[in-house]
Symmetry: C2
Subunit: 271 residues, 2 copies
């Protein structure tokens, strides 16, 4: 029989852990003195303690350890738990690795520029969104070619929405597709509620994006190029690959165009 301190020493665990395992019923002392409350353990219980520690070291919760050690799990259920744990660990490795890539990219950036990049990229899921839209063709993806096309498109879109008695349900969304001869199809869209829309307007559901790299651009869209470039560099440095043109979410655009706030969203996949 060992006192709790000796047992803890042999098992390389803390006394507090043994008390905790007692409290949750995972490892009850072989004997407890009814007067003093002192716990006593047998050497044979060290095997059980090792079993517990070994499973805990695999990352199982104490509840799971309890189920495995004392539960009446079939071999199949055990296999299932181990497979699940394996999958979780694979994700954990992948996630830590992705973070590592991100930290290393920032370290390189700080070496290059002397400070951290001030404009931050976030990867997130974008849900599907219903929009009303008008489209037109622009000569190229240059801001100089896009601006003159998309501005009147939005003016017209808002006019028609008003005529149809519809109030936008969210921000404007501009997006782009390749057209023939290197030209670009420009979509001037705005979020609307679920129902039907009468009048001269196309209603579309934009597909959700599982993983979109996003960046916030502040100022006129005429000056979006450096922001777009920062986004592209981040995507490259963090081991992603961009798929297509960025969506532009017009979050706010007051009188002064230099105070507009736009979010760029581009679908990405692991390179």
């Amino acid at each position: 029989m060992f006192a709790i301190g000796d047992f803890a020493r042999h098992g390389r665990v803390s006394v507090r852990m043994l008390r905790h395992y007692d409290a949750i019923g995972l490892l009850r002392p072989a004997h407890v003195d009814p007067f003093t409350g002192y716990r006593h353990y047998t050497a044979a219980q060290l095997a059980r303690l090792n079993r517990i520690i070994a499973l805990k070291d695999l990352g199982f919760t104490l509840q799971q350890v309890h189920d495995i050690v004392d539960g009446t799990l079939s071999a199949d259920e055990l296999r299932g738990m181990l497979r699940l744990r394996r999958a979780e660990l694979e994700s954990a490795v992948a996630e830590s690795h992705a973070r590592l890539i991100g930290v290393e990219a920032r370290l390189r950036a700080i070496e290059r520029e002397g400070h951290m990049p001030s404009n931050d990229v976030v990867v997130k899921r974008i849900p599907a969104v219903r929009v009303a839209e008008l489209t037109a063709i622009a000569e190229s993806y240059e801001p100089g070619d896009i601006g003159p096309v998309i501005s009147p498109l939005y003016d017209e879109l808002l006019r028609r929405l008003e005529a149809a008695g519809v109030t936008p349900a969210g921000p404007g969304v501009a997006y782009y597709e390749d057209a023939a001869d290197g030209r670009i199809t420009v979509h001037a869209a705005i979020q609307v509620a679920g129902g039907e829309i009468k009048g001269d307007l196309a209603v579309r559901d934009l597909a959700p994006i599982t993983e979109a790299a996003t960046i916030v651009h502040r100022g006129s869209m005429d000056a979006v190029v450096p922001t777009g470039q920062a986004l592209a560099e981040w995507i490259d440095a963090n081991g992603y690959r961009a798929g297509g043109y960025a969506r532009e979410i017009n979050l706010e655009c007051p009188e002064n165009r230099d105070e507009c706030v736009t979010e760029l969203q581009v679908a990405v996949t692991r390179a």
Copy 2:
């Protein structure tokens, strides 16, 4: 200006998170209605939110994010934080990977044997320990050759300790080294307290073991071979390599030799 719900939607965070960031001073709303307490955010604050989320996604704590975003950290301090984070992430990857190896080893064992191995191996640090000991030579590492050598050695050791007026400070420790011609030096040792020991006894400090794979053997040491084998198999299946013979810690040995409890400890390194 966005109400908290809209701002949360655009930022893909929960309303609760925004309230939390307000509470800890990480992201204060641009405006709070003095009557209703309603929080309002500007689109421009989305850039700050993204900055926060991006850093959080690298695994920094909110306190660290706070320091990075608002603190007056020099480029050097920033570099230091990123390097530390990098090191932490490297360990995290290694740890998850080691766990993954362990889970996979168990899955293979369960496929092979239809159930989980019942005898569990734990890797732990063994601190240095001071022992008094006697040594002798055995013909081989076979239990049949070891037993007859070590038993009288322990009898003699205990006799001499008693003669010297010393009480053991811990369990017996047997360990082994290669001698000439394939023979084995047997050390029959027992833990003693720090002071001087008079009399006919060698006192030695056994070196600590940084990483020891350990297993608990129950029963007579005559039947230790399968336990030793289970330990060796685990070491192999989990990507370690054993260094030398196992130490045997005699935790408990009552009259009935079949109820002895012994821990085997063998130094390991990553293969």
